[in-house]
């Protein structure tokens, strides 16, 4: 009898474990995000007397009159998750439509997560991509041409084969951020920093007044490759590609993407400029530093310049001084900063395209911009936006953009992973194992061999 009981028990356990296996596989299609659950209950409350929208898969079948089905948005900026949830609530309040925001961040990057979602047939309707990822999604993104919002901005992402695909949700700028108060105290006018000679003179002045100004070094520049490779390999390298060019000028990115060619003369001038930055940088930060140290040093007034963008100081409360941008003037007359959307929201063609379009049009409007600009601290890409961004760099950014002195983020169009190769060359240069000439030749060689792979 005992034996029988035991066998029944064992068999029961086995069946249960099997059932448990099966259940999870059946459930993977629905999101476990808690916001999704909220959205579902909201959907049910709304679609009274409609087809029962119990699960997410069943929802698209339910055709709600006068409004759109729930839209899922994959947000790639974890720092603005709370504001995105507020945006979704506002959207529902004003239009009655549901927007579910899922945020990817921390250690997972959005493009990696999206691949998993695609394989699991669990694609969001709107997701975030960087410009060079458009080709990965070739033929799968909806063409948004002709939508109202496209008339209000020049920053949309246009792809050769898919048309207007990207909705710009923010504008970011990068150049050499400066501490205006320190420059003023040292008697350096940032507007004159448009030639290598002027930069050299400014660096010498600032360096000689180190004690007087209470600074550690002129530049807060960090070429550490393991964690800050994106900064040197993508952003600083981007200055070689775009500095001094008009926003739609793709001369050097085209050259680069044509098998990894570089303009040696331009790269040499760029190298000399970087050499100057290396010379006047804080040695403790230059090779071994971290992003946190770099930004903290700038905020504390230890560095006059920082090689980051407007994202490094987001709130006026963070700094006690005025911030601005100066161009990487490695050639005479360079007077542009790089400005534009670093990433875009796109609509998945097989998803709820109409719902996504409706959301984009609403998002370009006043109430959405209010949240994105004033609460999330983003810079609006739309011409008719009436809100002044709170970002301390905004005034400087706007002056460049209004004067047309801005270049594109073409560095985002380089081959995937190139930054991991070039950042090492910056690091070697910073360490002193390369000089300007060997920096140029090494850069040429590693880029060419990377493109050849």
């Amino acid at each position: 009898m005992k034996k029988k009981l035991m066998s029944v028990l064992l068999a029961g356990t086995m069946v249960l474990s099997l059932a448990a296996c099966g259940e999870t596989s059946a459930d993977t299609a629905t999101t476990s995000d808690n916001t999704a659950a909220d959205a579902q209950t909201e959907t049910q409350a709304e679609t009274t007397a409609e087809a029962p929208a119990a699960t997410e898969e069943a929802a698209p079948a339910a055709e709600a009159t006068g409004s759109f089905d729930p839209v899922r948005l994959l947000n790639g900026k974890p720092e603005i998750d709370a504001q995105m949830q507020a945006l979704a609530a506002k959207y529902q309040e004003e239009t009655g439509n549901v927007l579910t925001v899922e945020t990817i961040g921390g250690d997972t990057n959005a493009s990696d997560e999206l691949k998993k979602m695609y394989q699991a047939d669990n694609m969001p309707d709107i997701f975030v991509i960087e410009a060079n990822q458009a080709d990965t999604w070739d033929g799968m993104l909806a063409d948004l041409a002709g939508e109202d919002w496209t008339n209000k901005t020049g920053f949309e992402l246009v792809n050769d084969s898919m048309g207007t695909i990207g909705f710009p949700y923010t504008v970011e700028a990068t150049a050499l951020g400066y501490n205006a108060d320190l420059l003023k105290a040292a008697g350096v006018d940032p507007a004159t920093l448009t030639s290598p000679a002027a930069w050299q003179a400014a660096c010498e002045t600032l360096d000689s007044k180190k004690d007087e100004l209470g600074i550690t070094a002129v530049f807060g520049w960090c070429a550490e490759p393991a964690n800050l490779g994106w900064s040197s390999g993508t952003h600083v390298f981007g200055q070689y590609l775009d500095a001094g060019l008009k926003a739609d000028d793709t001369t050097y990115i085209d050259l680069l993407n044509d098998g990894g060619k570089i303009d040696e003369a331009r790269m040499k001038s760029f190298a000399e400029f970087i050499g100057m930055m290396n010379k006047y940088s804080d040695p403790a930060l230059l090779v071994d530093g971290t992003y946190d140290l770099q930004v903290a040093g700038f905020k504390e007034g230890k560095y006059v310049f920082i090689t980051q963008g407007n994202w490094c100081v987001t709130s006026p409360d963070d700094v006690t001084f005025e911030c601005g941008f100066a161009p990487y003037a490695f050639e005479d007359g360079i007077n542009t900063i790089i400005a534009g959307p670093p990433s875009y929201w796109v609509a998945y063609a097989d998803g709820n395209v109409d719902g996504a379009k409706a959301f984009f049009n609403w998002c370009a409007g006043d109430s959405a911009q209010n949240i994105l600009v004033n609460e999330a601290g983003l810079v609006s890409p739309f011409d008719d936006c009436q809100y002044e961004a709170i970002n301390p760099f905004y005034k400087s950014m706007k002056s460049y953009i209004d004067a047309g002195n801005y270049s594109g983020w073409h560095t985002m169009l380089k081959k995937d992973g190139l930054q991991n190769v070039t950042c090492q060359v910056f690091a070697d240069y910073a360490k002193g194992s390369l000089d300007a000439d060997s920096f140029t030749s090494t850069m040429a060689q590693v880029i060419a061999s990377y493109y050849a792979q």
């Binding site: 059932a19 990965t136 799968m140 090779v287 590693v446 061999s449």
Partner: protein
């Protein structure tokens, strides 16, 4: 006359057939992404499989009944093994012959991925330093662990404390460990040396990874050695001391031969785990480090080991199929080395 009733026969066959139909239906609508009862495809499949198993259990046979029961009991394990190991392995090998980028597959490329990886200097470098890393680690980890084990089986005071503290690093995850040591190397060590951190130069960064790895892994291997040393019968040691053997002779002629099986296990463990080194590598250096000239190229992945190289090929550079091809090679290397190692060690044990 049959030993089975008609009812049982009918029930068994019906369950089998309905089970198969439901399973195929479930699979069918899942693959076609639509169709009748699409929302219940999971339930369909589970009920189908359960019915099939029930039918199998009641199958009217006496000779094979025991075998069927065995299979049914093995099923959950086999299923889990197939889903998590066998199917991904087969799919992975399949993908390595394509140009899959994680999303789309344009076509088959034959052996192009395999040919390409042997022409990529950075990958060859990764193979080279992985082998070097394995060699250093296999020797050093075992040496350090064995010495620690000898220490922890001697008669010193506070044994429990030493054992626990040597083992503790192994309980910290590799990523956390990597970041802790990154801080130590770039913020603490530099204060004493006054130069750039060890991590900024390829050679010293490689040494740094080895140090961290030994620190992490030696405690674990030490525990196994301690167990091994404790299994040596006391009377043998007593006999040797009566015969006048000094501690060195006891160590080399009695202790080490007696724990040969433990040495086999430990070498095997360090060998495979060093080959698969990933997390410390990622967190500590992320594969950076320059090599001025390797096969005529300036390399920028000086400390990137095989596993990390595969990861960055697939995930960072968006070349999933190419990464798969490298992973297949990785699998072959690992399998070959492990088999050879176990064979050799087994032979040795018999001789000893």
């Amino acid at each position: 006359m049959s030993t089975f009733s008609i009812g049982r026969k009918v029930f068994s066959f019906a369950s089998l057939i309905i089970g198969i139909v439901l399973t195929i239906w479930g699979l069918g609508v899942a693959i076609a992404k639509g169709g009748p009862l699409y929302a219940n495809r999971g339930a369909l499949m589970v009920i189908g499989v359960l019915l099939f198993i029930l039918g199998l259990y009641l199958f009217p046979t006496l000779t094979h009944h025991r075998a069927i029961v065995n299979i049914i009991f093995l099923f959950p394990l086999l299923f889990a093994f197939a889903v998590t190991v066998i199917i991904p392995l087969v799919l992975g090998i399949g993908y390595s012959f394509t140009d899959w980028n994680g999303i789309k597959m344009k076509g088959f490329v034959g052996l192009a991925n395999y040919a390409r990886m042997f022409r990529q200097p950075s990958f060859l470098w990764s193979i080279l330093i992985t082998f070097l890393f394995v060699l250093f680690n296999m020797i050093l980890v075992n040496l350090v662990a064995f010495l620690l084990a000898l220490l922890c089986t001697s008669k010193i005071k506070g044994l429990g404390f030493f054992r626990a503290s040597y083992f503790l690093p192994n309980l910290i995850g590799g990523i956390v460990l990597g970041y802790i040591w990154q801080f130590i190397f770039s913020n603490v060590v530099t204060k004493f040396t006054g130069t750039y951190s060890m991590l900024s130069d390829t050679k010293t960064a490689f040494i740094a990874i080895i140090i961290v790895y030994i620190w992490q892994y030696a405690g674990y291997i030490m525990l196994i050695y301690i167990t091994g040393l404790n299994t040596i019968p006391g009377d043998v040691l007593e006999a040797s001391s009566i015969d006048g053997a000094n501690p060195m002779q006891t160590l080399f002629n009695i202790k080490i031969p007696m724990i040969a099986p433990t040495i086999t296990i430990c070498t095997f463990l360090t060998l495979t785990s060093a080959f698969k080194q990933f997390d410390v590598n990622l967190a500590l250096t992320n594969g950076t480090g320059s090599v001025p000239s390797f096969l005529g190229n300036y390399l920028t992945n000086g400390t990137e080991m095989l596993a990390l190289n595969i990861y960055s090929t697939a995930v960072i550079n968006n070349e999933y199929a190419f990464g798969e091809a490298k992973a297949v090679l990785f699998f072959i290397i690992l399998a070959t080395v492990s088999i050879i190692q176990v064979r050799i060690s087994n032979k040795k044990e018999v001789e000893l």
